[in-house]
């Protein structure tokens, strides 16, 4: 069989198996209140710190007074990207930490179903962290993220697709290289922070780096957010371009994951997955 199709389900998706994986993570989350608290704690802390900074500079700089909320908007959207990837990777790493990957790979769960369950878990983990953040933004800083309207849906879909693509590649690297690659789960996504122009427009970057920035789907989202909040224009063209790049990125991530999984099989890594 072609190695690239090995991870794909041949008899349709087994939703009962995906349900079993969600149940496994639900049991885990509900067994530990510090885990739940930690998922809320960091987004809330980030929002509060940056929110007060925005309040301060908007009172002292005319640009920020005009573009009120862009900083908080950027923080919330960045957190969707970061927490989405972290939620995916954490759910995956739980299997590595508990040396459970061999059990799963030996079960009828297909790699595709495994990835699908991790995507759903990333949404659940994201909701636990970001929903309180959104409420706090409205209460403390008078910023209603839902005021972005339908654009928010476009922003969210593009960011979550990118986060999953990064999470899939990181998971593949950990399967192939063992826990030595674990730190990538916490650090890799941060390369997007300067390059995707989260807090400043693309025009700030040197010309050659702008080329790199426009290869990254989140760049389109953050530019789109600024266009909406500063110029009051929804740039659908940016969202469509981001979606097109995301589609390509997602396919590449799946191909890379399956290739790394096959390489792990060849090197006997799946029977020593905790090491």
């Amino acid at each position: 069989m072609n190695a690239l199709t090995e991870g794909l389900p041949r008899h349709g998706i087994g939703w009962h198996r995906i349900g079993a994986m969600l149940l496994r993570h639900w049991y885990l989350l509900t067994s530990s209140w510090p885990r739940l608290l930690e998922m809320v704690y960091w987004p809330a802390l980030t929002l509060i710190s940056w929110g007060f900074l925005q309040n301060y500079i908007s009172g002292n700089a005319s640009f920020f007074a005009k573009a009120g909320g862009t900083l908080i908007g950027a923080i919330i959207l960045w957190d969707i990207l970061f927490r989405g990837q972290l939620g995916f990777s954490m759910s995956f790493l739980e299997e590595m930490w508990s040396r459970n990957l061999g059990n799963l790979m030996m079960s009828p769960l297909t790699p595709f179903e495994f990835l699908l369950s991790l995507m759903i878990m990333s949404l659940i983990r994201l909701a636990i962290g970001v929903v309180p953040m959104v409420v706090m933004a409205a209460v403390f800083f008078n910023f209603n993220v839902f005021g972005l309207g339908l654009a928010l849906v476009a922003f969210f879909c593009n960011l979550i697709l990118t986060s999953w693509a990064v999470g899939i590649v990181v998971s593949g690297l950990v399967v192939r290289n063992g826990m030595g690659a674990e730190s990538l789960a916490w650090t890799l996504v941060f390369i997007l922070l300067p390059l995707a122009c989260v807090y400043y427009p693309v025009s700030v970057l040197p010309a050659w780096l702008q080329w790199v920035a426009w290869l990254l789907p989140p760049t389109y989202v953050f530019e789109g957010m600024r266009a909406l909040m500063i110029d009051k224009v929804f740039r659908a063209d940016l969202m469509i371009e981001a979606l097109a790049i995301n589609a390509g990125l997602f396919v590449v991530a799946i191909v890379v994951f399956v290739a790394l999984l096959n390489s792990a099989r060849s090197h006997g890594k799946l029977i020593q997955s905790g090491e």
């Binding site: 090995e6 496994r24 508990s98 009828p108 006997g268 029977i271």
Partner: protein
Amino acid sequence: MHDTHASSPAIDVEHLVKVYRKATAVNDISFKIARHSVTALLGGNGAGKTTTIGMIMGLVRPTSGTVRVLGHSMPDESAEVLGRMNFESPYVDMPMRLTVRQNLTVFGKLYAVTDLRERIGQLAADLDLQDFLDRSSGTLSAGQKTRVSLAKALINNPELLLLDEPTASLDPDAADWIRRHLENYRKARGATILLASHNMLEVERLCDRVIILKRGRIEDDDTPSGIRARYNRQTLEEVFLDVARGRVQEAS
């Protein structure tokens, strides 16, 4: 499920080779395991037992050669058979924060076990898990963990059971009890069992056949009594020492 491969061996290994970088872990081995039999893979550390079992399970891709399980090629057709087999190995654990009952529930659902609650109750009774069914798996003793791993391996009533050192961390009483349970399971289910073990008494008691591996090759393959007779030894343990210490020529 209708099995169009019912007449094929449970496991069919042909010219199997596994090379890790420059080290040859398994070197051109071939064997067939008949259905409803219990076979032991014997060998010292580094003999290639775990790698062989890994290739049979589809967790390790062979360098060359073929593995067919219940008539299907591994790992390419693993989706066809993984629901009908299961395994227990010291190389994997179950999530530690989940209780035993939660772990068995998750794996039961993964294997689409019907009447799961009843099945867990039955396994808990058979393997004496009732006292710690609602305790976190991470708080269990080594012996308790082994019994839970065995319960997970039996959750789907597998036709084919692969066991790597199934009684390694158990006291003699618990180990004897597990062996009796495996014997009963094999008879009741008509299952095929392949186990890797260092416990020669276990192998003599449970197995119809013994395959001895040394440095990735099959050194011998016969019934336990046939092997003892050939080496002119009273026990498999003595045979094992002969093979491990290179006294095969003298002994034979």
